[in-house]
Symmetry: C2
Subunit: 204 residues, 2 copies
């Protein structure tokens, strides 16, 4: 009986330890929220001590940030997979939005990204993450393409992106709370069409 979990390189040890801590923290942050989750509980769930945590992360907030960044990138990946095909810009926007709502049904994502995230990291901090590696990045690109193709009227891109993104966020929260996704998709589509170039052709 040999213990094969010996002789590991430092890089590998760090990687797996960080992953373990992030995974354990994610579970608890999702279940109980950031404020109600203590670091002793996190390290117990990960099977290590607080020394490991504070060696790899500056503080509890830095660990939370790592959890949020990972989750945010996963949501973005799902969206880009769903809206990558070469479809018309308006339909790509709608498809991306639908994919976002689907991705946000993964349990805990709304709490991490829409409730605790802004409060713990600040709205600016959360926006920075969202705009760089999160869903807002895809949305912004889609909107820019739609404006370039004259499908949408020219408007301040930042403003449009923020407001539409925020509406999608709230829709994700409502859907999680049991609302009918169709009702919200209808309104979101109306929002998009409200910015359409003025030749007045809404769908059937």
């Amino acid at each position: 009986m040999q213990q094969e979990t010996k002789r590991r390189s430092n890089r590998e040890r760090s990687q797996t330890m960080r992953a373990q801590l992030i995974a354990a923290a994610r579970r608890l942050f999702v279940d109980k929220g950031y404020a109600e989750t203590g670091t002793p509980e996190i390290v117990a769930a990960a099977g290590v001590t607080r020394g490991a945590l504070y060696h790899h992360f500056a503080d509890k907030q830095a660990l939370f940030r790592a959890v949020v960044e990972l989750e945010s990138s996963r949501v973005a990946a799902e969206i880009e997979t769903a809206s990558s095909g070469d479809m018309p810009v308006r339909e790509a926007l709608i498809a991306g939005g639908r994919a976002f709502l689907g991705a946000m049904r993964e349990p805990g994502r709304t709490r991490l990204l829409l409730l605790d995230g802004p409060a713990v990291l600040g709205r600016a901090g959360m926006d920075a993450i969202d705009a760089e590696i999160g869903a807002m990045r895809s949305l912004r690109e889609g909107l820019a393409a739609a404006m370039a193709a004259r499908v949408l009227r020219p408007m301040q891109l930042d403003a449009v992106t923020l407001l539409l993104s925020s509406a999608y966020d709230r829709a994700a929260l409502a859907v999680e709370a049991g609302a009918e996704p169709g009702d919200f998709m209808a309104v979101l589509t109306a929002f998009v069409d409200g910015m359409a170039a003025p030749d007045c052709d809404r769908g059937p």
Copy 2:
């Protein structure tokens, strides 16, 4: 030199004490956020002890809820003052929205109502307050009137209210961060017009 702050009725003592605690807590919650503000600091600012706090409020969260409810009602009052005149329903909606953005420039309101509020009280708890005594109440009524007047297409009222409300919230955050209010009002107006009844007459 008589001390005239003697002989006070119990009801009056409670009222002023609650008001003092709420005012002191508001200042600190706004400056440092809910999590970073301790109850010792709050009672010191109010010139009393923690005994008073825990006599009038079940816990720190209950005090925060009282702060949020007061602030929420003040915002709603400003909105209803601004959109009460008998103007056309669409213009009343726009005016109410503008009043909301104005009211939210009062320092600290975005943090209380849009960042810490949802995280501390939960989205459902915050929605309950907002829908009953906050800005969402006015918005919902305005939208219902617009649909009844066939100015807006019939859509799920809850969905429309939530999504538009959320977009206004984000606009308030952006304006506070230094963005141009006009850019955001333009997009918000486009959202409203996207739900307009299909006779295709947007303003100039």
